[in-house]
Symmetry: C2
Subunit: 246 residues, 2 copies
């Protein structure tokens, strides 16, 4: 499994992804699930992937080859005029990859993959998309300012409750670490290290990036601190009282 | 969907279940998912069910008919010599019901159901079981002192973090309400009212019972208070700091 989040803030975009891939619990590997295409002054595009690793790697490879081979340069992710067109390109690519393996008559589920795509291209606003295995996609709105893919349930309640579009990148990082920590504590198939990336609106350059390793001091403070803070929060609530039974 | 939890404490058992049943989001009903068989001084057995409503109702009906019709009185849930035998009876019944609908060649998934069974029978300790659609089951242990069925992911982190076997029934109720509140806020297919029941070890009588309705004052205090407490807990954590990039 996987857990990835893309968050849209007033000041930009924040991405976080885990790196665990597993084919059964006895076959665990570390793979980066965050990919970026950046051309300073022109565009920064970040992609997070969840699902079948062969599918997501094929999608990334095709997108990359198109950016490298001149004969196939069109359509390249560096030529797309807008984030919407980029989302269509990625959507078409993922559908194409899945169709290809699928034509063998296998079940589509197993080859499925979902993608979070965010970034900004000169002339447009920063945008954030969720792309389905079928190739169609939805865009984040003020009502739904974040997308999660993979094992999203454990870490959702805290984002729903504490997200605020006016957050700083640092606050958003804290929020995502708490969300990832809840997920890591509950599901073995989501694992450290985590990849973190910021994109500041209208900067058109790659923002802060960090790989948060197993013994990252800040992660340990959050993980331990959140356990403690939750216990205190829980204790602060009034006790249930059994009414006298009549 | 459904959300039910059975919790084993040092002083007894606590059960909570929601009441929402849906066949599609446009077809929602309220059904009780908590059933109790009690004979004061002899046994108290509580069952929580999740999954196909036709399956779970058939299981309950068969168990009830066996307790009522003299000719079928054996095996009745009131005659089982131990909680283990009761779990076997319920497991056999659920497998039998699923096999029956399944023989039509339909997919087993859709008829599936899971059951939490807990209680105490004179001569034994209080025990808590999780029964699978296949009819087999596991028992809670000090390592796994609670079982969840249905939509369990959203509400699991808080139980994992705050459960303590020495809790009072009142503290456990608070914990379960927080867990249910997180689930209700994230998944439409889990809905109020909630059913709550206590069983005090070695009492051999039905414990405190309550239906928590939509506007239950204590539930509203917990729901609102937990949002606030989480925000404060989150604020209490130190901010992430971007290290100076070299």
């Amino acid at each position: 499994m996987t857990y990835c989040v893309g968050l849209k803030l007033d000041r930009g975009l924040v991405f976080m992804s885990d790196t665990r891939t597993n084919a059964g619990v006895d076959n665990i590997s570390t793979f980066k699930k965050m990919y970026t295409w950046a051309k300073t002054g022109d565009r920064v595009i970040t992609l997070l992937s969840a699902g079948n690793l062969a599918t997501t790697q094929a999608v990334i490879s095709i997108l990359n080859e198109r950016t490298k081979t001149p004969s196939e340069r069109s359509p390249s992710i560096y030529d797309m005029p807008s984030m919407f067109q980029t989302a269509r390109l990625v959507g078409d690519t993922i559908r194409h990859v899945i169709d290809e393996v699928d034509s063998g008559g296998q079940r589509a589920d197993s080859f499925g993959a979902s993608i979070i795509l965010g970034g900004q291209i000169k002339g447009g606003d920063p945008r954030l998309f969720l792309i389905y295995p079928e190739g169609n996609f939805i865009e984040s709105t003020p009502d739904t300012p974040f997308f999660q893919i993979g094992e999203h349930k454990y870490g959702k309640p805290i984002i729903v409750r504490s997200y605020d579009p006016a957050m700083t990148f640092e606050e958003a990082t804290k929020l995502l670490l708490v969300s990832f920590d809840s997920t890591l504590k509950s599901n073995l198939s989501v694992g450290l290290p985590l990849d973190l990336q910021f994109y500041e609106s209208d900067s058109f350059k790659l923002g802060f990036e960090k790989r948060i390793e197993r013994h990252d001091p800040y992660y340990e403070i959050i993980s331990e601190g959140w356990s403690q803070a939750l216990k205190l929060a829980f204790q602060s609530l009034p006790p249930f009282e059994i009414e006298p039974r009549s």
